[in-house]
Amino acid sequence: MSDYAHPENLVSTEWVALHASEPNVRLVEVDVETSAYDEGHIPGAIAWAWRSQLCDTLRRDILSAPAFETLMQESGIGNDTAVILYGDNNNWFAAWALWQMRIYGHKDVRLMNGGRKKWISEGRELTTEVPTVKPARYRAASPDFSLRSFLLQAQGASAGRASALVDVRSPAEFTGEILAPPGLPETCQRGGHIPGARNIPWSKACREDGTFLPYDELKAVYAAEGIDGSKPVIAYCRIGERSSHTWFVLRYLLGLPGVTNYDGSWTEWGNLVGAPVQRGAAAAARG
């Protein structure tokens, strides 16, 4: 992991096996909901459900600062706690949690490389025991929205091309062949992609075992589509969790400047009245 631009944001399964029980380490399994956690999880891990705990459940947004502070406090996380996140789906929702924690200024938060699948495939210890958590004190920083793009920035990038748009969904979603990942509910009125976006599926960043490609291979994957740090990057997907994964790769593993996550993503753009939509494959990469 030492070749990455910021390897301190990633730990291995071996590291977790050795350090998870240390007093200043909090291990969190993060998924859309907690059914996988309930089957068995890494000893000492607590669970966060994206749907109910990592989003504002009234309006569509990330957590408010007070709600974020409450989650941290109830999770036994103080401002100096080392938080290790992992989950299913190659850490999609764990990456969302990391993105949100960075927005609120948490310094020491890392992903477990390979996520839940790698831990299980290695035959490591699991438990169904839910740890007792002693609440901690937590103070969120002012939100750092330089890590986040809103609709306005995405529209600007599409119209002006000053920032690169990276659509990390599957090719079938990007082209408009399907309106949601196969088997999942359709959550948009129109299929396709934001005009000007490049399609670089999140999975291009991973090996078959779920771990990230080494630095040189990652660099080649994104450079082939014109993502080389020469301009800011806005990553998006359907609901913002897959693009959190790519945001993590671009920002911390490759160290590119000006990378943001547009969490409104296709569920916002694809439902907007009058929004321009492109179907089919993307045009050739722009400089």
């Binding site: 299913d88 789906n89 495939s121 990942p181 999942l184």
Partner: protein
């Protein structure tokens, strides 16, 4: 406890590629079915044998995948 006998394989379900990952925890086999592209989980099942857990996951995955429309 530890996950044992972890195995993965890809199968086609209603024209969609599905990844089946299964393992044993104690006396119970667990199976998860994901759509390969993009990789979201569709079903998570348990059963006394791997074959039964996989079949239950495939049945549920098939029900969900049947709802997916391909646009012209």
């Amino acid at each position: 406890m530890r996950a044992e006998e972890f195995a993965e394989r890809k199968v086609a379900v209603d024209g969609w590629e599905v990844n089946l990952a299964s393992y044993r925890l104690g006396d119970v086999f667990h199976c998860q079915a994901d759509n390969v592209s993009p990789g979201a989980w569709l079903a998570r099942t348990t059963a006394p044998t791997r074959a039964e857990a996989e079949q239950k996951a495939l049945t549920r995955a098939s029900q969900l995948l049947a709802r997916t429309r391909r646009c012209a």
